[in-house]
Symmetry: C2
Subunit: 199 residues, 2 copies
Amino acid sequence: MTRRVGLTTERLTRAGAELADEVGFDQVTVSALARRFDVKVASLYSHVKNSQDLKTRIALLALEEMADRAAAALAGRAGKDALTAFANVYRDYAREHPGRYAAAQLRLDPETAAASAGVRHAQMTRAILRGYDLTEPDQTHAVRMLGSVFHGYVSLELGGGFSHSAPDSQESWSRTLDALDALLRNWPAPPNTPTTPTG
Amino acid sequence: MTRRVGLTTERLTRAGAELADEVGFDQVTVSALARRFDVKVASLYSHVKNSQDLKTRIALLALEEMADRAAAALAGRAGKDALTAFANVYRDYAREHPGRYAAAQLRLDPETAAASAGVRHAQMTRAILRGYDLTEPDQTHAVRMLGSVFHGYVSLELGGGFSHSAPDSQESWSRTLDALDALLRNWPAPPNTPTTPTG
DNA sequence: CCGAGTTGCCTAAAAGCATTAGGCAAATGC
DNA sequence: GCATTTGCCTAATGCTTTTAGGCAACTCGG
């Protein structure tokens, strides 16, 4: 007597993402997932290649979800409005789905990364800068800096770095976005290089 | 016939840090460490409580090392000079010791964190801001933002996020520091709140 | 509606890591 | 020189990962 549960790569990935949010991404294990479906561990190996494969799929799912949310948030917005909306997508997603967010940080091999929704993120960040007056290569520098701030802030906040101390994190987040907006509106020129005297 | 190797919590922690730098922090395992000392696994348990304890010790070591470097870098510097020196300590440390840097990201329980060198980091970041004209609560916001940028940038760079694309990462890093300096010299006032009409 | 083939989950087994209990030899101290 | 402590060991358990091979239950052509 055999009982077919209806396992699928899809379903496993989704369940893995939920599991990650509940117990943390590094606690996502093939065994735990099998338990969740009340199925023997070996059964999962018909649907995912191995543990690494499972984790990669969860990461890709998270990247997709974030990119979708970001795209929706950016629609019809520009300037600071767009910047804020975009940034909040990251922060909100990380708070709603800490495990998925952690998954999205997984180091993907170059091909996988290139085929992931990660590139959409980069394009959207660049799109935000259309509302400001930046040209290459400053635009790229700014893209990288924005990504760093968003990721860094969210990651430190999630790690508890800003809790238990005043002022509360929401306030710092708002002021950080204010500061970034001001910075982008007034992006500094490169400082003097010794080879190009100004006097 | 027994052979005493001279295991110590100290030595295990140090070797664990080296191992982390070589194979990645998440590959640091009690077994691997035992192998490295050519000793049976159980022997380590007289010196570290468990795997978690070992990892925490490595994290604390990394935090100490970074704080020491930062303190040395800050001595005799102020303003942008201090900002740059401090930031470079992080980036350089992460590049020299990726495993240790990853360890430093480990989520510590509040008591451990409070007793760690992490608080020195926060104090030093605040010290940098003495060279700029910020008062509370903006100083705290700026501290958090700086921490976010440094951590975010280094972490994305280490993950390969900025490789294989122009301009090179060093350039973006320099320009990011320029931008942060400009921002701190010109930190924006909070925007109008609807409850305080300006007209 | 029924037999052939495919699919889906299973049992079994090997290997690695974490952790604990208890032993014995070597170092230490009086 | 003997008692004690210390330091590493053997042994054992339990969990996770992964592969190989089996059997029941669906599916589909006749």
